[in-house]
Symmetry: D2
Subunit: 124 residues, 4 copies
């Protein structure tokens, strides 16, 4: 997924404000669903971020076009992990591992085999 950096994404340091890289990754995850005509909802459950770890390697700046990749890297009974990389051309700017859960009425739900299959087919 290609994303353009606009003024709103930058800060007075002249570069993308650090937390906006997380927004870019969330756009990329949502877009997987939109591209299939779905909302990011599975069987009445929606996604909540549980943990994030990220490395800010280099900065994107106003006007840059960056690429966000999304890869399913682990599937557990109640959570799954996504690895995002953000690159500008071939240069790695940002890397993040995101652990997500599916929540219904505020409570995390088991990932049934059917849901695991849906996630596998979506993110690959």
């Amino acid at each position: 997924m290609q994303i353009r950096v606009y003024y709103e994404d930058t800060d007075a340091g002249g570069i993308v404000y650090h937390s906006n890289y997380l927004n870019f990754c969330e756009r990329a995850r949502s877009e997987f669903f939109f591209q299939k005509g779905m909302l990011p909802v599975i069987e009445d459950r929606h996604f909540v971020v549980r943990k994030i770890s990220c490395d800010f390697i280099k900065s994107a700046k106003f006007g840059d076009t960056i690429d966000v990749s999304t890869k399913l890297i682990e599937m557990k009974k109640a959570s799954f992990s996504i690895l995002h990389e953000i690159k500008k051309e071939d240069m790695l700017l940002f890397k993040s591992e995101v652990i997500l859960v599916l929540v219904k009425d505020g409570k995390p739900q088991k990932l049934t085999p059917s849901i695991q299959n849906t996630l596998h087919s979506l993110f690959s």
Copy 2:
């Protein structure tokens, strides 16, 4: 209401990103309700912005402390108008007139005398 300008509020031009002044005004309107222990909701109706006109006079920058004033200037049958001014010390930075309606289930509602009284007492 006093607001501090943080990195997230600025852009690569080194000053507050233009639409964030509207956010500051919305914070000020909401805070009138919070200060009375209420949410910005009246009799199950919530507020929606219908029109805004604004003047960007001078810029606030990272680290500034600014003041947002809020004044009810007009009350109609189905809408009301608020005038906001944002100042840094005595210098006027931004001025905006906002026309709001009360909405229930997506539909604008008449401002009954009881609601008009609540609005008058809140914003003065």
Copy 3:
């Protein structure tokens, strides 16, 4: 210019937060420059919003794809005006007139005939 509405653009009311429509318009203005391989800078001067008036007609919501149009509607000696419309399919959601100036070292600059020509050719 087509824009997708992501979670970050919405608020607890379930719809796009009002000031984000201004961001969408700013993206559209910037994109005119990016498409020609330029930054939104003319002869060392950059753009500053002086006035905005806008109508919020209907709401966009999470997952919507919206279209932002950009039209140069007035050219003066020291400022120019842009009309933006945001539509979802054929339904008008938002309309805004934006008055911009070109600024150098914090001071508004005269729009020379050469700059006026550049603006005319960019926005049409």
Copy 4:
């Protein structure tokens, strides 16, 4: 540092959008400097986030007042670590460890004993 949750901080899920907790932490770090009449700059060097790991434990919602704590937990030759906790009353909502570097002209700088002392005295 106390922070109020406004509409702009929430998303269509009705809760604070996940990356905004990082903004709240950055506000808290900046405020340490502002409270001493400084900008977040030390000897011409400014701060850049290098790594973040965070746990999203519970959600804050519109109108909540939350507390952000900031604690210096490690000092190295070229980086230092801050632990933030965000609580609503006594309930832990969010926890994050942030590794920061000081940068000059885009390059990370050694933390001299003098800079280490300044950081120690600021964050304790």
